[in-house]
Amino acid sequence: MDVFVQQLINGLTLGSIYGLIAIGYTMVFGIIGMVNFAHGDVFMVSCFIALITFLILTAWLGVSSIALAFLVVLVVAMALTALWGWAIERVAYRPLRGSFRLAPLISAIGVSIFLSNFVQVVQGARNKPTPPMLSGGITLFERDGYAVFLAWKQVLIMAVTAVLLTGFWYLVQRTPFGRAQRACEQDRKMAALLGIDVDRTISLTFVLGAALAAVAGVLYLMYYGVVSFSDGFVPGVKAFTAAVLGGIGSLPGAVLGGLIIGLIETFWSAYFSIEYKDVAAFSILAIVLIFMPSGILGRPEVEKV
């Protein structure tokens, strides 16, 4: 039981990070029907932006308040990563809109390769460690010498995810921008006929997705304390899997999928073998998709025309 609770906490934490990245996949897929394969690398870039900002703040500027440093790192990482997201859409995807379907996909893979190699060249190939940003926590309970420990950083990760999911859900469902975004999803030409600037709406979607990836990046860095240029790939694929599992196009689905993938991975590692955790996660994905082809919260395509 104690091991179970501990793994539950770890799994939800990991799943929250996947969920935040997955929202970016799901929003972009929703609006232009494209899998943005560069999204995982955008996440990795945000980790480096966070790392550099944190080191500048603490080592050069001598900021000692952890809360302040964390906030500044978050804001800087979100802003700069959003700029990356905007630029990538502008340079690599927009010129290909209206081209054949595979073109932007190939372009996305190109961007992904570019980003990881760019970071490898300018930052080096070695793992980059950070000093711990937020340590400590509370022991929930202790039995037979096994303490179930809830770290503050885990609480922070889960809380941030919950707040952001709620915020984004509100944005998409209740605000004029969210409505414009859904309109572009359903009928881009009609949205333009109603005066919606479709290109701008798509740009903003990329910006928001990248900003969320940056939040995930900051949390990831804080949680693991280390990052390398290749860290975009695996979390990226996992988050994409999460988006598909939850039902691509659905925001709550993305986070739900993220949590499920995180939990499967953690429990499999704890009870079976850590080598096969990815096999377990992807097998569950395959099985779920056989019985629920549009994902857990995805909508089946039945419409009256």
């Binding site: 414009a180 309109a183 009928d187 030409k189 006929l193 109603l194 025309v305």
Partner: protein, 265 residues
């Protein structure tokens, strides 16, 4: 006299033909292509402020293409379109919509996974909700069916209800010029009458300018001040609604033989 001078002269002559005022919408020698296939070949057409103008033509004549070309989607390959004295030929679609032109397009194109209410909100998007409550009341009075279904998902409504919603949504943007593409398509005769009454009402009381594409030629020409006939991407005839109704060629091609003609109307 310079070429520009001659053009001005031509414009003025046309303005006089259209009833004295310079036209609100002027389509000049517009050709539109889908790939290498011409859909419109040198179309000339005017809609004056406060008019109801009807464009009739067979399936595939290019009526809907003209409606979309006015909105720059697709853009005209040659020719010019001016609205309120401004060249809009190369403007992006959303910028054209913001000038005060609205369209209820072919195939209705309601947002299927949004509620009726949200569809109407989308119609009012370019005013940031400033006149929403007032306009909502207005379109609900015009289309009581829409009012009954405000919370329903638009994609689950019947074709006729979706048609009313598409028109209501277009009205929510408070257009000065309203383009209606086959508003009577798929509707029961009684509903058609309701929609045509509504169009006449909008024109009479609000002074809204209306450009209408119809297969239901009899009703549409009766309603219109003026009309045009489009055949294979070319305007072949124009005149007052009355004159076109009485024209033997129009009669033979568009009014007799099972179309919604005067029988029983």
């Amino acid at each position: 006299m310079s070429v520009a001078g001659i053009n001005v002269l031509v414009e003025e002559t046309r303005a006089i033909q259209a009833g004295g005022k310079p036209p609100l919408l002027a389509v000049r020698d517009v050709s539109t292509y889908y790939g290498s296939v011409a859909a419109l070949r040198g179309v000339d057409l005017d809609v004056a402020d406060g008019e109801i103008v009807t464009l009739i033509g067979a399936n595939g004549a290019g009526k809907s293409t003209l409606m979309m070309t006015i909105f720059g989607s697709p853009q005209a390959r040659s020719g010019t379109i001016t609205y309120d004295g401004r060249d809009i030929t190369r403007l992006p679609t959303h910028a054209i919509a913001r000038l005060g032109i609205a369209q209820s397009p072919e195939g209705r194109r309601v947002f299927p996974r949004m509620s009726v209410y949200e569809n109407l909100q989308m119609g009012a998007a370019l005013h940031d909700g400033r006149f929403f409550a007032e306009d909502l009341e207005k379109v609900c009075a015009l289309f009581p069916r829409v009012k009954e279904r405000l919370n329903q998902r638009a994609g689950t409504m019947s074709g006729g209800e979706q048609q009313m919603l598409a028109i209501a949504r277009a009205l929510m943007s408070r257009p000065r010029l309203l383009l209606l593409d086959e508003p009577s398509l798929g509707l029961a005769p009684l509903v058609v009458k309701g929609i045509f009454d509504a169009i006449r009402e909008l024109n009479r009381t609000d002074g809204m300018t209306i450009f209408l594409v119809e297969q239901n030629a009899y009703h549409a020409l009766k309603l219109a001040h003026r009309g045009y006939v489009l055949v294979n991407g070319r305007v072949t005839m124009s005149g007052t609604g009355r004159a076109l109704l009485d024209d033997p060629n129009v009669k033979a091609a568009y009014l007799e033989g099972g179309h919604a003609g005067p029988v029983g109307a």
